[in-house]
Amino acid sequence: MNWLIDFFGAAANWSGPDGIPARILEHLEFSAAAFLIAAVIAVPLGLLIGHTGRGALLIVVSANAARALPTLGLLVLVVLLIGVGTVLPVLIPLVVLAIPPILVNTYEGVRGVDADLRDAAYGMGLRGGQVLFRVLTPSALPLILLGLRLSAIQVVSTASVAAFVGLGGLGRFIIDGLATKTYSDVIGGAVLIALLALAVQLAFTVLDRVVVSPGVRQVR
């Protein structure tokens, strides 16, 4: 507990470019950028593969690879090969690791829609695109949101690890604290990241309540 008081009680920790507010903003900035790029790539791709059924192998491979690939190793290797200096080399592994949860769950969501529902939509004269966007997507929304949530949490988590290769953000408190054996910083940083992850979790729970059609939720 004393560590927490040391960390959050120190006035110096609340201002300047390495203060808590600045670090939180940095962390959110990188995470949001990586998450949005990943979502823009993975949601349409997942919808497309789920709808057409083509390229399902890509889903299986990416699901397994994402779990087995060590984040730290990927980060270190990419940044070492491309070189530091800009944010871009760190952003690449962040995006790569954020894609699979969205891709897999979007695909599963579309695939899991009741076949009767799909047939009924075609029977009513809807075209392929209309079926996808007016019927399949709303029905798959709970799973798409689950994928987005898992991905967002993954990004927040990986962005903390990325402090090791020089990225700013909350991971800095942990990495620098470990290097200088300032455990109040380590614990304080860990608590802040945990709170951020929980805030993301909560935000998606609220989003789920707001955007998922009540009819879809009842079925689940």
């Binding site: 730290l72 070189g83 690890v161 380590v186 614990i187 860990a190």
Partner: protein, 225 residues
């Protein structure tokens, strides 16, 4: 990057078993221990807890909620917090990974037990199975595919997450990432990634094999159909 090759094979040969604490073999061994012990512990705890949650429904909501929170915590966060409790030991990695395993396995056990068809349960009752024997000989075997599905996810995640422990000084093969980064030398990093992925693929394959052996009826049904 200069013209340093991606992999220097002679470095691997020299460091595979150099006798020191940084030998690749030594790191691999500690990696195996730190990755698999949490899965074993997690399974031992998740089975009774999952059975309890399936038996007493009111228990499941709060447990699932708690596990959801645990699962959303980044591994680096849990490692850092446990570092102040258990210090620079393997427990600092093993305890958090056990918690992650629980977060995956408890829902898997509950889902598995709920997947047991009602007519199967009733047949067992009609044949005179008492609750404990019914659980051990009917319900748990039928739940095996779902539980093993969860176990596969937990095992592969655990194997890859151990490497993050390198940041707090206990990371098995993850130490190769730190080493490679500090010396700006890609070979150890590539070796680490390849060994971790191979270890994960191998473990996953063994679990698939275990599932085939444990559920012979699923194959019998498929070949009969």
């Amino acid at each position: 990057m200069n013209d340093e090759p991606l992999v220097r094979w002679d470095w691997i040969a020299r460091n595979w078993d150099n006798g020191g604490p940084s030998a690749i073999r030594t790191l691999l061994e500690s990696h195996v221990v730190m990755a698999l012990l949490p899965v074993v512990f997690g399974l031992l705890v998740a089975l009774p807890l999952g059975v309890a949650c399936a038996r007493w429904r009111w228990l499941y909501q709060p447990t699932a909620g708690l596990m959801n929170v645990v699962y959303s915590l980044p591994s680096l966060v849990l490692f850092s917090i446990f570092l102040s409790v258990t210090g620079l030991t393997q427990s600092t990695v093993i305890i958090p990974l056990t918690l992650f395993t629980l977060a995956i396995l408890i829902p898997a056990v509950v889902d598995g037990l709920r997947s047991v068809p009602e007519h199967v349960r009733q047949s067992a009752v009609a044949m005179g199975f008492r609750p404990l024997r019914r659980l051990l000989q009917v319900e748990l075997p039928v739940a095996v595919p779902v539980v093993l599905g969860g176990l596969r996810v937990a095992t592969v995640s655990s194997i890859s997450l151990v490497s993050v422990g390198a940041l707090i000084g206990q990371g098995g093969l993850g130490n190769l990432f730190i080493d490679g980064w500090q010396r700006q030398f890609p070979t150890p990093i590539v070796v680490g990634i390849v060994l971790i992925v191979l270890f994960a693929v191998l473990s996953d394959g063994l679990l698939v094999l275990a599932q085939r052996l444990l559920t012979p009826w699923s194959r019998a049904r498929r070949s009969a159909a």
